[in-house]
């Protein structure tokens, strides 16, 4: 996750104007630091956490915060802090997998669809229109519903709904770029279609795709936690934030810590992604869809 993020960021930073603008965007720096902290926590989580996320200690049920349990314990005597940190690892890991898969799927499809056009384009676009008619979340629920509630199915479902956005954006950029003179020049100079796609058009896609991805990470995390809360994603005892909220629901009245912290964690990470995405959008000057 960390490696991918820095790789994404180093590219636009090289364009000095965009880089300077980002450094001056306080909201974006805040988002980046917040995300950085969460990523670090997730990476080094197993080393720093004080307890095991799954060990049930019925003697230590619903404890208040203490040195041994920084945020208290849940209804099965498990350390909430540990479960949150391990949950961050899970959530970030899943969204990284989803984002990478979706880019690998959506970008080439959109490129070919937009540049080459023809029958391939119309098939892809009909598919995109048909699936785009429904809100992503409802599609994800339907997929999870038909395939059965489990984490792998949830990942599959999110990938199936998320590639659409990338194919759409990349296609529209490809459509407008293919009419430009540098593409014509490349064609005249004897470049093959493959070379034009890879060398000339692909770099044009980086900015919009990076912005879309940054904003999407927040949405994906929200979908994962929401579906897990509904019982359609991660199953107990997996320390996933949404599943933790679902798990602890009967105890909220007496032990509000079960409710407060997982929700705060989700919100913090989504805020961070939204700030980062909006900042990137401004700095890279990408029109909103």
């Amino acid at each position: 996750m960390n490696g991918k993020l820095t790789a994404e960021l180093s590219l636009p930073l090289r364009r000095s104007h965009a880089g300077r603008q980002m450094l001056h965007n306080r909201a974006m720096m805040l988002g980046m630091s917040l995300l950085g902290i969460i990523v670090l926590l997730a990476l080094f989580g197993p080393i720093i956490v004080p307890n095991d996320p799954l060990t049930v200690q019925m003697g230590d049920r619903l404890l208040s915060p203490s040195w041994q349990y920084p945020l208290g314990t849940d209804h099965l005597g498990r350390c909430i802090f540990t479960r949150l940190v391990i949950g961050a690892q899970l959530t970030l890991g899943i969204s990284a997998i989803v984002i990478v898969t979706v880019i690998v799927l959506g970008v080439p499809l959109g490129l070919i669809s937009g540049y080459i056009g023809g029958r391939f384009d119309s098939i892809i676009m009909r598919l995109v229109d048909g699936m785009g008619a429904l809100p992503e979340f409802i599609f994800a629920i339907a997929f999870a519903g038909f395939l059965g509630p489990s984490l792998p199915n949830l990942i599959f479902a999110i990938v199936l709904v998320k590639w659409i956005g990338y194919a759409r954006v990349v296609r529209s950029v490809a459509l407008s770029e293919r009419e430009k003179e540098y593409v014509l020049a490349a064609k005249v100079a004897g470049c093959s279609t493959w070379t034009i796609l890879r060398r000339h058009l692909l770099p044009q896609m980086i900015s919009p795709v990076v912005v879309l991805a940054a904003l999407d990470i927040g949405k994906i995390i929200m979908i994962i936690s929401m579906l897990s809360y509904l019982g359609l994603g991660a199953q107990p005892p997996t320390p996933e934030w949404g599943a933790m909220l679902n798990d602890g629901r009967p105890y909220f009245q007496s032990a509000p810590q079960l409710m407060i912290y997982p929700g705060l964690a989700i919100m913090a990470i989504v805020i961070a992604c939204n700030l980062l995405g909006e900042g990137l959008r401004e700095a890279l000057d990408v029109r909103s869809r």
């Binding site: 009909r126 598919l127 048909g130 979340f137 997982p262 929700g263």
Partner: protein
């Protein structure tokens, strides 16, 4: 205008066709044998003959294409099949729950307008001053807070701690308050921002200057002239977010035990009642597509530039 409607109607049919195809494929991909599920639901001993008979009755012994054709013919006649569990037609089940969902969505919309309109107006009146900053922060929170968590917090505060409002269920007006706020808040924040930028945009136009020069009251300029122009982008985005409203209602109906389409769908998912899931997804798709069509049409009615074909082509 008629041309536009015709074009959009053809598109609508096409989109629904693709949707039905995707849903049908998913149904076929679903693990587990619905026939066995059905038989087990009755909790009787099952014989091979029972199984074969039911398979034939449901048409599962025929080729997939024939099954799709039959299913599609049924859809056209509004026959969505029969619920595995309840043995009632899916359409009846959906229609039973529809009023509750409409009620929740409408009150969520009302909450949204009640928050977004004043917030957007104030933010545009004092751009980059503290009311604007407050609305900006609210928008960020609204876009980032998980709706189910906000619902949980509201239940905790107003139902469990203060005891002012019921935790869940449907009935009196009091039952509607928390679900509507949960549903409306997230969107309100986004719309307030949209309204603000739209208002700032239209306030800098020449016709506003002209109105000011004519000595119109600032309030009339804002409410009469600027707001009307600023509502156009808001209406467009509404088409998109109507789907999100329906999606949000799944979570919120479940959270507050609100007996609508969303809770019906979720229950069906856990019970593997595929006809209900399928009916729900199709119905939602239909709603979203129709609302988007209406939005497009109202957009062209509101904006003369589009109606007369001088603006963006659509």
């Amino acid at each position: 205008m008629l041309q536009l409607i015709k074009k959009r109607l053809i598109q609508l049919v096409f989109v629904l066709f693709i949707l039905s195809l995707v849903i049908f494929i998913l149904m076929k991909l679903a693990p587990g044998d619905p026939v066995l599920t059905l038989l087990h639901a009755d909790e009787m001993s099952i014989t091979q003959a029972d199984e074969a008979a039911l398979r034939e009755e449901l048409g599962f012994d025929q080729p997939v294409l024939v099954q799709y054709g039959k299913w599609m013919l049924g859809l056209i006649r509004l026959d969505l099949g029969t619920s595995y569990l309840k043995g009632r037609p899916v359409l009846d089940e959906l229609l039973d729950k529809l009023p509750a969902t409409i009620q929740l969505t409408a009150s969520g919309l009302a909450v949204m307008v009640a928050i977004a309109l004043p917030l957007g107006l104030i933010a545009s009146r004092y751009p980059n001053r503290w009311p604007d900053h407050v609305s900006r922060i609210l928008a960020l929170v609204g876009a980032s807070i998980p709706s189910f968590w906000m619902g949980l917090l509201l239940i905790y505060l107003f139902s469990l701690k203060l005891g002012w409002l019921p935790t869940s269920g449907k009935g009196s007006f009091a039952h509607m308050i928390l679900p509507s706020i949960t549903l409306g808040f997230a969107m309100a924040a986004v719309y307030a921002r949209l309204l603000r930028s739209g208002l700032l945009d239209s306030l800098s136009q020449d016709y506003i200057k002209a109105a000011r020069a004519r000595g119109l009251a600032e309030r009339r300029i804002l409410m009469g002239h600027a707001l009307r122009a600023a509502l156009l982008p808001v209406i467009t985005v509404f088409g998109v977010s109507f789907g999100n409203l329906l999606a949000g209602s799944v979570v919120i109906e479940t959270l507050f035990a609100w007996p609508g389409l969303g809770s019906l769908a979720l229950e069906a998912i856990f019970e593997r009642d595929y006809p209900i899931i399928q009916g729900y997804v199709l119905a939602t798709g239909l709603f979203v597509v129709v609302v988007n069509l209406l939005v497009d049409l109202s957009y062209s009615l509101l904006d003369p530039r589009i109606r007369l074909g001088k603006g963006a082509s659509s």
